[in-house]
């Protein structure tokens, strides 16, 4: 009797694996020609300082797969080979790997594993072929003066060179550039084809990224997206969580998980004829430890820091040349004052980018992006221009 029950339980547990469907896969490879200004740095404009001159080579390669296991169940993943912080394309990772369950006749589906971080509009554009510009927006690529190991201190990286685990601390982006997190996510279609809600419990705040160090990080993220009219898409996102990581430099700091990051963001997209207008605005607040580079210790307590970042894109598809587009992006970041000090905690900046793209055929896309940025109070800011030409082949 007990054996029969056990067998029945096992059979039930094995149900999702009972009827595997066809394994679907796609692949892509992107080759890039790039060059940057004298003051280029991966943390500022995604051009590594050792590769400021003209450089050509493989920028990233992807292998994507989806495997329907049984009715409502599927496994999906993405294997990524990319340049480690803009250096050589030697970093292999599995940014997406999850099991999804979509109960029949239900408006809710669940995802367990590594999935897209449900915040903002840009995380949904992971592949070069889905992006208008090759470079990421500032909130996802510009490193601010907050490091997950050394907390906050002004002039991080360029003026104050503090090492942790043998690496100079350069800070972190408002949102981890990889765009994925691990955890459990629910997706709810509130109103068919009109409104959706994503909510997830994840392994850290948006800035955290997939670093393995302790203590155990946690975060909560949600995104409400809606299509109020055929020409208008609107999103509203919220995220909150921990991001600090234990290492030698912060050994004396207690309660690392008491330091948090909170983000609120809104994004929209308007489509008219050959034009598409889109943009995103993200406000960030941090509760972060203040490091004193001269003394080599942390100020007791936490400082509250605020920043805001946004971008607006205009894309124009050429009516006489199908598959070709031109686009312009203006992006910026503004930083609040350090409480009690009257100084901004990082330098405001603005970036202008121009892009062009042309789909050669069904498996080849050519894109080019040029950008200039101005960092306030930095004499060298005009030397952070960047140019990228990317050819993406996909299958």
């Amino acid at each position: 009797m007990r054996t029969a029950r056990l067998l029945a339980t096992l059979k039930l547990a094995a149900l999702p694996l009972a009827l595997p469907g066809q394994l679907e896969f796609n692949a892509s490879a992107s080759f890039e020609l790039s060059g940057g200004g004298d003051k280029s740095h991966y943390y500022y404009n995604e051009i590594h300082e050792d590769y400021r001159g003209w450089r050509a080579g493989l920028a990233q390669a992807n292998l994507m797969a989806r495997w329907p296991l049984a009715s409502g169940w599927q496994l999906q993943g993405r294997l990524l080979l990319e340049r480690d912080q803009g250096q050589r394309p030697e970093q292999l990772s599995l940014p997406q790997f999850n099991l999804e369950w979509a109960p029949k006749k239900s408006a809710v589906r669940f995802t367990l594993g590594r999935f897209l971080y449900p915040f903002g509009a840009f995380n949904g554009r992971q592949l070069p072929a889905e992006r208008t510009f090759i470079a990421r927006p500032l909130a996802y690529s510009y490193y601010v003066n907050i490091s997950e190991k050394a907390g906050f201190f002004p002039g991080m990286g360029d003026q104050a060179k503090i090492k942790a685990d043998g690496e100079t601390q350069w800070g972190s982006t408002l949102l981890y550039y990889g765009g994925y997190a691990a955890g459990l996510k629910a997706h709810w279609e509130i109103c068919p084809r009109k409104a959706w809600l994503d909510a997830a419990v994840v392994n850290g705040a948006p800035t955290a990224g997939p670093r393995p160090g302790g203590p155990l990080k946690w975060g909560f993220a949600s995104r409400l997206s809606a299509q109020p009219d055929f020409w208008w898409k609107q999103g509203l996102s919220l995220a909150y969580g921990t991001f600090m990581e234990r290492t030698g430099i912060n050994a004396g700091l207690e309660g690392l998980n008491a330091f948090r990051q909170a983000l609120i963001g809104t994004d929209c997209q308007f489509s008219f004829g050959y034009f598409e207008l889109s943009g995103e605005l993200i406000a960030a607040t941090y509760r972060v430890p203040r490091y004193q580079p001269e003394e080599g210790n942390f100020v007791p307590g936490a400082v509250h820091l605020k920043a805001i970042s946004g971008y607006a894109d205009i894309k124009y598809s050429l009516p006489f040349l199908g598959g070709a587009y031109l686009a312009y992006r203006i992006g910026g970041m503004r930083f609040g004052k350090i409480p009690g000090e009257g100084e901004q905690w990082d330098n405001n900046l603005r970036r202008h980018s121009l892009a062009a793209g042309y789909r050669v055929n069904s498996f080849l896309l050519v894109q080019a992006t040029g950008s200039v940025q101005q960092v306030e109070d930095k004499a060298w800011s005009r030397h952070q221009q960047a140019f990228r030409l990317m050819v993406t082949a996909f299958y």
Binding site: Q22, E24, F115, G124, F230, W231, S317
Partner: protein, 293 residues
Amino acid sequence: MLKTAFLLTACLSLLVSRFQIAHSTRGEISRGGEKAQKIGAQPPGESAHPRLCGLACAVSSKINALSFEPDIAAPPAMAARQQPPQPPPRPGNANELYGTIGLPHAGRWMARGKGYNKDGAPAMHSDDPMADPNRNVIVSAHPLDFAPALPPTPEAVVTQKEQTFLPCVLPVTVGSTVYFMNEDQFVHSIYSMTLRSIAIGRRPPGEMHPRKIDKPGVIQLTCDIHTHMRGVVLSLETPYFTRAGADGRYRLRGLPDGRYRIEAYHLDAGKRTLETTLSGGQAKQLDFNYVKP
């Protein structure tokens, strides 16, 4: 100017008839189709525009009926195109070609996907049979001894519904005008990497956009917004073509005597070509096989 006026009239008529369309029955829909077939220069075999179900078909049929109805205010260019086709200058045109297409089955354990699958947002796809490449195998007979007249294909409509091109393969004679339509409640765009003049921007639901297909061959279609969408306008230099049935059988009637290159086209599996000679009113069997051994 006249063309614009015509299109405006058609759009207005469409709006007025929308309520009626939404309540039309299948019978009315097929009547619309038959009417258009009688007027246009219909090649032998099946209609270029399949019988799409529901509103898609109703709207498309209404618009086609409007577009090709000679007694409405059609621009001169369009009226001229409605002349019956000139019969090919060949003796005898009663030959027939029929056969079976060995359709590729989806039984393989792995296949190319529809692009990057974002979790939580599966790519929308229509269940309409016209979205199935196996239901859209086109067989065409290309005369090698004479140049046939190429009347424009009537009822040439490609619609975008549930992020899917319907039909996924639309056969037309080269020079035909294809009407592109959006039946979703969000914007779609259309562009072609093989015929760059097809570049229809982001357009609202319900609008029709005509584009002349002035180049022969496989005209690939895609959408800038939903990159997984793909479709084909098969632009043919022959009026003799048909869409194979669900059972994989096809039949081409009214073929004049002569030598032919017979082509089968499948969206995923591509082209298969055979040559044959027809004469004396014969009925000949010619099978194609897409099944991998």
